[in-house]
């Protein structure tokens, strides 16, 4: 889904690069970068994380499938879209279908790609793929990871829209996905 970047005179040159953390959870790189003016930025930290997915999943009764989960960065339990990491070699669409099913027990016949974004192109190498899933139904018990405690919350789409407009979904990648979903659903 990506085209290679087009070289540009503003591009930096990497003089050297070392890993500070490189385990199954995180790659943290410290690069020494020469900018076009000649100045060297060292260390310039780069985060290598897996690609992410999230899903705006809507039932035939126009309810959105949300999850309540503790988020340790924000140090609070919040309401979010179902989301997760793309496994190595996995297709983003397959990851979205898998995560929705595992986290919520919901599945649906119609997943469509909404947008592909960067969590932060300044320091993240990964991408986040957002999908819209319509006509989703509860088909099995949820199967979260052992470390995940998740409450599935169904809210009317109209209420989710009001919450979005009121800045109540604090996750930037989820707010974007919701806005793209509203456009796709032709809700202005």
């Amino acid at each position: 889904m990506e085209t290679p970047p087009i070289p540009h005179p503003f591009d930096w040159r990497v003089l050297n690069s070392r890993y500070i953390v490189h385990d199954r959870w995180l790659g943290l790189r410290a690069d020494a970068c020469q900018v076009p003016s000649g100045a060297v930025l060292d260390p310039y930290y780069i985060l290598e994380l897996p690609d992410y997915i999230n899903v705006v999943a809507i039932t035939p009764r126009q309810e959105v499938v949300l999850v309540r989960e503790y988020r340790h960065g924000a140090a609070q339990t919040i309401l979010e879209l179902p989301s997760g990491r793309v496994d190595a070699g996995e297709d983003a669409l397959v990851a979205a279908q898998r995560e929705l099913l595992e986290e919520t027990g919901f599945s649906g016949p119609a997943f469509q790609h909404l947008c592909t974004l960067s969590p932060n192109p300044a320091n993240h190498t990964n991408r986040v793929y957002s999908f819209l899933a319509t006509g989703v139904e509860h088909v099995q018990e949820m199967q979260p990871d052992a470390s995940e405690q998740i409450e599935v919350v169904l809210l009317p789409l109209a209420q989710v829209i009001e919450m979005l407009y009121a800045n109540q979904f604090i996750q930037a990648m989820h707010a974007s996905a919701l806005f793209y979903a509203l456009r796709r659903l032709d809700i202005r």
Copy 2:
């Protein structure tokens, strides 16, 4: 602009915490966390970064002030909103006014807060504050940091909207800001 988080039974308990990186650019913490089921996640990495701001700045001729800049995470030079970090002790609005002026030489009489989001509440402690600035004018030469090479690009608002809808702004925090700006401007 924040209320303290409300405690919730899903919240984790931090058993211990250590810094892997703690310099002026990045705090990377490895926490050992006990989840309510009793399982322990160790290490759970948390990124401590300064708060961010970005600005949707619009001239009286309905042009949006954008910047073309190299972004080393994405490894490409891209078009973005003017954005930056909030200095320690600085107000987010002041940071937004400062960064717009430094990066672009534009300033304006009317900044309004659009939204406050988290880059990623799973692993980021910081927030990103987005502002709408209308009636901005070019008032001085841009004064980027020595390491910043920035091209200021003015594009008609209508074109920026088309680019947003076409998923051409890859920065999740900037896409969100643009959608909130369109709502504030009553453009549906």
